[in-house]
Symmetry: C2
Subunit: 339 residues, 2 copies
């Protein structure tokens, strides 16, 4: 078996309590001599705590749960999204740095999520890709700090890390306008959450330009969330695209996919149709031509989510619940100056 506090105590001729105090840095209660002695033995014997016992006794698990919803992502065919990859890695790195461990679960079943939290005595939760309702349900059931990512909602008291999506929409609308694309279309597979806010940014800009409500609505295209549906949709809309000459997609993934489709149909990008994306992920840089897009810093969001959660767990007061990071316009080659 591994070495326990009891073993260390015996070897140091002290009580388990003292050893425990040393381990937890309650150093004011321990004389320098014993402190040093115990630390030496701890190190020599390579003491490793048993989280099982810690959880039982102290009621603190040092576990942070990362919950991600899968349904919508799979539907959209973006389950290979590099977003998740980089997000998870940054989350774990930061969680560990903060002294916690990461329990990871994918599910669309709320019961599963809160059962997990209870089973493991989880101290805080980070959720990605869950709806506001699901988040609210989990928070009520679990009663532990919860930080969401990329959610917009009205529920008071819920912490969220996000992006200035609206500003992103605004920036790109402005840029497209400056390039002469006053007629650009916006394409997204839904009109809620971040995609809605990106659209709102566009609306703000266009209204400043004197656009009417009716004209606005015609610019907003809801594309199917399955790949075959999208192909068919693009086929149907091709004449419209060629007329408007500029498409602003709510994500790089959709933008890159569209570029692919259009090129296969011998449309020249950006000469015939300009394309813009959102995210600035690997799809944007790998695309031919590379995408003009709105950059978001995913690691920054992930690290912020963990830090906010840790602060919440520590019970710090005066924490700003909502945090939205800035975005940046990245100009590459997929948008042409309209002649």
């Amino acid at each position: 078996m591994t070495v326990r506090i009891k073993d260390i105590a015996r070897e140091a001729n002290v009580s388990p309590t003292t050893v425990s105090n040393v381990i937890h840095g309650n150093t004011k209660k321990v004389s320098p001599a014993t402190l040093e002695r115990i630390e030496a033995i701890l190190h020599k014997r390579q003491y490793i705590p048993s989280m099982g016992a810690r959880m039982l006794a102290g009621n603190s698990s040092h576990l942070i749960g990362v919950l991600i919803g899968s349904k919508r992502r799979q539907e959209r065919g973006i389950d290979r999204d590099p977003f998740t990859s980089i997000l998870l890695e940054t989350l774990e790195t930061e969680i560990f740095r903060q002294g916690y461990y990461m329990l990871f679960h994918i599910s669309d079943r709320p019961e599963e999520n809160w059962a997990l939290a209870a089973t493991w005595n989880i101290e805080g939760l980070i959720t990605i890709g869950l709806s506001p309702e699901e988040n609210e349900g989990i928070r009520e059931k679990c009663g532990i700090p919860l930080v969401t990512v990329d959610v917009y909602y009205d529920i008071p008291g819920m912490a969220n890390i996000g992006l200035k999506d609206e500003e992103g929409g605004y920036l790109m609308a402005q840029f497209l306008f400056d390039q002469g694309h006053t007629d650009f279309l916006f394409l997204a597979d839904n009109d809620t959450g971040v995609d809605h806010m990106r659209w709102e940014g566009i609306v703000t800009f266009l209204k400043e330009q004197g656009s009417s409500e009716g004209a606005l609505r015609e610019r907003h295209l809801l594309i199917p969330s399955d790949i075959d549906g999208r192909q068919a949709y693009y086929q149907k809309k091709l004449p419209l695209f060629l007329e408007k000459q500029a498409l602003f997609f709510a994500s790089d993934y959709y933008a890159a996919e569209a570029v692919q489709y259009l090129r296969q149909n011998n449309i020249r990008i950006p000469e015939q149709i300009s394309i813009a994306g959102f995210d600035d992920n690997v799809y944007a840089s790998m695309c031919s031509p590379p995408l003009t897009t709105i950059r978001q810093n995913v690691p920054q969001k992930a690290a912020a989510a963990v830090r906010k959660l840790a602060a919440l767990i520590r019970g710090e007061t005066g924490i700003q619940l909502e945090e939205r990071f800035p975005v940046e316009l990245i100009i590459r080659d997929s948008v042409a100056l309209r002649r």
Copy 2:
């Protein structure tokens, strides 16, 4: 507080032991009447076990650790690889299905990894992106079942899930040959592990065609593992590339990146240079032109890794330690028939 076994026992007028037996399906020791009664109460009260107590008492944590190394991936700039994303998601799904929970950690420090395993009483480990030595160290220290992914090594008794990399190399070599590209080059950023085996497959084919050792060596190009280095390298090698007319990259990522680079230099793909990749991930399909590549089924590998680990944990005998899944040649548009 949440409901405990003791509470259920009291309500059912039985002892905690009996409740525990019911929970674990030790049903032969329980009369049908009490069984039913207890199950009803369990359900009604929404009993959720405390893993802390379980770990302490029963010494079984139901935890599977997923360890990934980060160093090499970051160096190569493939830390946004969709591979990790899809792999992690499939791993978690399968781990949960098998009745385990997933503890996730990223690290290049072996001590950290085995401390994690000991701290959490982890029952089995899946590692990705660690060297054979690191894996061996972890296995020795932890003494628990370990399944690696995509590792080649000589250490007996280590379980691994991989791919028929050699066959992949062979298949693509054969295809390129058939298309008239008898002079194709192979490009990878190392000559160990999977990349080495892919090269070995090429070697096997070329030897069948009567190629000499010397000629073989000249086909194998080691590219820098940082992006700037690669750019400079491609610049330097451009004349060679144009002469050979066909490049087979060890991964879709590098292939797609090269396509990008070459097109920016006004090289037509595949007319002037044919490009082949390996993996068939999103880079291959998003590339313009879409890549001819070797397909691997990542979810299949992930699920197999978990199942093998679960079998090892259960102590099943006669388990095949090494499992390598087949690959498939996917023909798209990035390889032209050589005139």
